[in-house]
């Protein structure tokens, strides 16, 4: 198995530059409060400068391929391995480049808004996490950065923290993306566990080094397949990716996330964070691609593409429309990466770039409209062309790209999707023909809502809409630049391919040997009548025919989503609120303020957990080998049992305490007989003291127990039986094991005084009483902790009782 071809020919990345790229945004974020005090609203330009610097640093790594490793937790094999190739560079460019534009735009958009220091700090921290996701090749590091993006986006979505809808949206995105990340983590851990057998040494490194997973993709694949874990791993990683990239049915957080200020939506929800899931799929593609992969991801992607496009048609708010459209296009990218042929990888690689460019521009346009027109409702908008001519131009380029209209940029990548889907169907036949059909069906709706967005600028102005002012240049320049880039890609797609997309494509296909020729992508306007061209033609033709019926389609989609069972949100809300009310209902049962309730729950929970763990682990009882005890010990234990029974039927407190001490003293005698004088001594002394303390307290208690209710008595009986059984089982199971190298041999050897010794001993305990030597020498730190606990208990008694009634009432 050889490494990626480029790894041998291209220069290695620069460690310092990469570290700086990751560190700068976080340092910058930490400094924001100070900077904000000095600069005020111009903090935006400070943040933009940091982003620009990161962009420059990423740019210095252009053309380089390889990994650098910085040790992090060497004991666990976790390192901060950073890997540079086309895919990570593209995501890095998007995160930092779009970051520059967004931060500049924020300078205008956030004028006079509250909480700006927090806003810029979170945006910078988010940018840093996203760069981390892009460059991390170590699975644990990747996971950490991955969840950091979720947390920083939580802060950003909940920017207007007093608004209920913001809180709801932030919580929702957090629950879904973080939970998805946890699924992904399980997948990572499974991969790590399998890598031990497949590669020879367990690794967390995904790509870039000799022993990394992708470099040993065949062996890893073999191991996954033979252990039957291939599909589970794909599914687990798929859940993480789908949660982040808003794939159906986890797409529901994305529309709510539009509660965030629009620059955040443009940044997180079009260009970067949602791309993390797509990135993950692209990154793992060389490792896991195959039939199972195609079935899962192509299906997921195409369903998302179609459903989200339909929902976008049903949207009434421009940001909502864009949110669904984002989910739809992410579905397109996932479907692209899902197809197991090379065309699929080309689709994914190219559409990441195209989508980021046109969607970020469109979000910024939406922000301008909302900011200047004061409304985001589609029905209230129209004829904006006259007031916002430049914005109209930007929108035309971006929206036609989104529609996949030739020759705009989205057209080329959509053609690739059609080709990929067609090739799969033509190759395998049968049910696979569903793929190209669904691709065309979904694209029709994509075309429709794109045209709808564009139509806001044409036609007549609605009556309610007053004069719309031109936005400031800081808000106009970023989308203009993005539209310019989109235009360049539209006119000369091959330039974009040669610059970056080709290397992204190479990252997403399985490793190839040094001599093998890598397929080179060529993109241009179609010159022959290929099946994909026909599919595009159908899309546009049906779209054009359906356009007059847009309002009816809009109403139809809304009628469908009015059925609550068809809404994924309905399930989410019911799950979350159901859990909330369930926990509220259980509160009075669990937290009654009575110690005995707490003890009941704690004991029951521990017993059930322990017992079910034994059951799950399939623990078998050790074979009964007869009683290896002498008659005296058996007699003593019998008396102890009689004492225990007597305690439970004792009619008064005094009798109870006295019979309990019979039990205690019998245990002490047992220790004596079992050659444990130290324990016996301790037990005797403690027993005496406990008896004395009981007698002190008993004076204050009523002499007799009341009669318990039957139900309570039954519950207590069951509980005590269960606890008893648990302890019994635990003792049996834990003493059954006979380790080869028991720890006591060390203590026996080291506790006493060696036969020959100098005047000073440090290695040996030098005492005849092993128990005490262990307590004060070998395990002195434990004892230290224990006496600290004893002191703490005394202090808390002091506080609880002696300080009671000394004021300090809450």
């Amino acid at each position: 198995m050889s490494g990626v071809v480029a790894a041998t020919s291209a220069p290695a990345p620069d460690t310092q530059a990469l570290l700086a790229v990751l560190a700068l945004p976080f340092i910058g974020a930490a400094l924001v409060p100070v900077v904000y005090r000095a600069l005020g609203e111009r903090t935006a330009y400070y943040a933009a400068a940091i982003a620009l610097f990161c962009f420059a640093l990423v740019a210095t790594q252009y053309g380089r391929v390889g990994a650098v490793t910085i040790p992090w937790i060497p004991e666990l094999g976790v390192s901060l391995t950073l890997y540079v190739d086309g895919l990570s560079l593209l995501i890095g460019f998007l995160a930092s480049g779009v970051g520059v534009l967004i931060l500049t735009y924020s300078g205008g958009y956030m004028h006079g808004e509250p909480g700006q220091a927090k806003y810029y700090a979170s945006l910078l921290a988010f940018m840093g996490s996203m760069l981390g996701v892009a460059f991390a090749a170590d699975l644990i590091a990747l996971f950490v950065f991955w969840e950091l993006t979720s947390i920083s986006s939580f802060m950003l979505i909940g920017h207007y923290q007093r608004k209920r809808s913001s809180q709801y949206a932030a919580r929702k995105s957090m629950i879904i993306t973080v939970a998805g990340g946890l699924f992904m983590l399980i997948g990572f851990l499974l991969l790590h566990a399998l890598s031990a057998g497949a590669i020879g040494e367990a690794t967390f490194t995904l790509v870039g080094t000799e022993g990394a997973m992708i470099e040993n993709a065949d062996a890893m694949n073999e191991a996954l397949r033979s252990s039957g874990l291939l599909v589970p791993v794909i599914a687990l990683i798929g859940v993480g990716a789908a949660a982040k990239s808003a794939q159906v049915p986890l797409h529901i957080w994305l529309p709510n996330a539009m509660e965030a200020p629009t620059p955040v939506s443009a940044f997180l929800h079009s260009a970067t964070m949602v791309k993390a899931g797509v990135y993950l799929v692209g990154r793992f593609r060389p490792l896991l691609v195959g039939d199972e992969w195609m079935l899962i991801f192509a299906t997921l992607g195409l369903i998302t593409m179609t459903v989200a496009a339909l929902l976008a048609v049903g949207a009434t708010d421009i940001k909502e429309l864009l949110a669904y459209s984002t989910a739809s296009h992410l579905g397109l990218i996932i479907a692209g990466f899902g197809f197991a042929n090379e065309l699929g990888a080309e689709t994914g690689a190219f559409h990441i770039l195209n989508h980021a460019v046109f969607k970020a521009a469109l979000f910024l346009v939406a922000g301008i409209i909302a900011h200047e027109a004061g409304t985001r409702l589609i029905s209230d908008l129209g004829g904006l062309r006259k007031d916002l001519p430049i914005v109209a131009g930007i929108t035309a380029v971006a929206a036609l790209g989104m529609a996949g209209f030739p020759p705009f940029n989205g057209f080329y990548s959509k053609e690739l999707l059609f080709e990929a889907a067609y090739e799969v169907a033509a190759h395998a036949g049968g049910l696979w023909w569903v793929f190209p059909a669904v691709a065309v069906f979904g694209s029709i709706f994509t075309f429709l809502y794109s045209i709808k967005f564009l139509s806001l600028f044409f036609g007549d102005k609605p009556d309610g809409l007053g004069e719309v002012h031109s936005p400031p240049w800081t808000m106009l320049a970023p989308p203009l630049l993005l539209a310019g880039i989109a235009l360049v890609i539209s006119i000369s797609p091959q330039t974009a391919i040669d610059t970056i997309v080709q290397s992204v494509f190479e990252s997403a296909i399985p490793a190839h040997g040094p001599g093998e020729e890598v397929h080179h992508m060529t993109i241009g306007l179609p010159t022959k009548l290929k099946p994909a061209v026909i599919m595009s033609a159908i899309t546009i033709a049906v779209g054009a025919v359906a356009w007059p019926f847009y309002d009816r389609l809009h109403a139809g989609v809304n009628a469908l989503t009015d059925v609550k069972y068809l809404r994924a949100n309905w399930y989410y809300d019911n799950a979350v609120y159901g859990l909330t009310s369930a926990s509220q209902l259980s509160m009075p049962q669990v937290q009654t303020g009575l110690v005995r309730t707490y003890v009941t729950w704690a004991l029951a929970a521990v017993s059930v957990l322990a017992l079910s763990a034994y059951l799950a682990a399939g623990a078998a009882l050790p074979a009964f080998t007869g009683i290896g005890l002498g008659i005296p010990i058996v007699l003593v234990l019998l008396v102890a049992v009689v004492g225990a029974v007597a305690v439970s039927i004792a009619p008064s407190h005094i009798a109870g305490v006295l019979t309990l001490s019979i039990l205690g003293f019998m245990v002490a005698v047992f220790f004596v007989l079992a050659n444990a004088p130290d324990l016996a001594l301790t037990q005797l002394v403690i027993e005496t003291l406990v008896l004395v303390i009981f007698l002190l307290v008993l004076d204050k208690l009523p002499a007799y127990y009341g009669t318990a209710r039957r139900a309570v008595a039954a519950r207590d009986a069951v509980l005590s039986a269960v606890v008893g059984a648990t302890v019994f089982l635990t003792v049996l199971l834990s003493t059954a094991a006979t380790p080869d190298d028991p720890i006591y041999t060390y203590f026996i050897e080291r506790a006493g005084i060696p036969e020959e010794h100098g005047p000073l001993l440090v290695d040996y305990g030098g005492g005849g009483n092993i128990v005490n030597v262990i307590l004060v020498d070998f395990r002195a730190f434990d004892t230290m902790g224990e006496i600290a606990v004893v002191a703490m208990a005394a202090l808390s008694v002091l506080t609880l009782i002696a300080m009671r009634g000394r004021g300090e009432r809450g």
Partner: protein, 158 residues
């Protein structure tokens, strides 16, 4: 609990037994390294002796008759002043135990490393084994005595 409840027999027995218990406790503490015993057992035994005094003679006896202190304010009835002494005791114990560990650090060993020193040519004994662990054990003893007596004193005063 008042001292009217207790009989002459119990008081006399207590008078004789308490010094014996304390002596035994000290013996247990010192022999702990080689024979059954140690700081914890000795501490609990000492507390048992004090508990006996509390039960037989009452809580204020120790303070008024043995230490010749008079309650000065009403607060002293709720929280006997001797509790402060106990508190000081377990603080001392903690410092002693931790200190014995820190001494090892100053000589370059890990925290709580213990050593044994043999001293020869001592009259009568000829050879004495000095374990630094004894200092640690003493710390344990003081913590146990101080903490348990605090609890006993405070709860008893209730």
């Amino acid at each position: 609990m008042t001292d009217k409840d207790t009989t002459v027999i119990s008081r006399t027995v207590t008078r004789i037994v308490v010094p014996l218990i304390l002596l035994l406790a000290i013996a247990l503490l010192l022999q702990g390294h080689n024979l059954p015993g140690g700081g914890f057992i000795a501490g609990v035994l000492t507390v048992a002796a004090f508990a006996l005094i509390y039960i037989i003679f009452g809580l204020s006896y120790l303070e008024e008759e043995l230490l010749h202190r008079r309650p000065e304010s009403s607060l002293d009835v709720i929280q006997p002043r001797i509790v402060e002494d106990y508190r000081g005791m377990f603080a001392t114990g903690l410092i002693l135990a931790a200190g014995s560990g820190i001494v090892a650090m100053t000589v370059g060993f890990p925290f709580l490393t213990q050593a044994v020193l043999f001293v020869y040519d001592v009259p009568i004994y000829h050879e004495i084994e000095l374990a630094s662990a004894l200092v640690f054990d003493l710390g344990v003893y003081f913590v146990v005595v101080g903490a348990l007596l605090t609890i006993l004193g405070v709860v008893g005063a209730e």
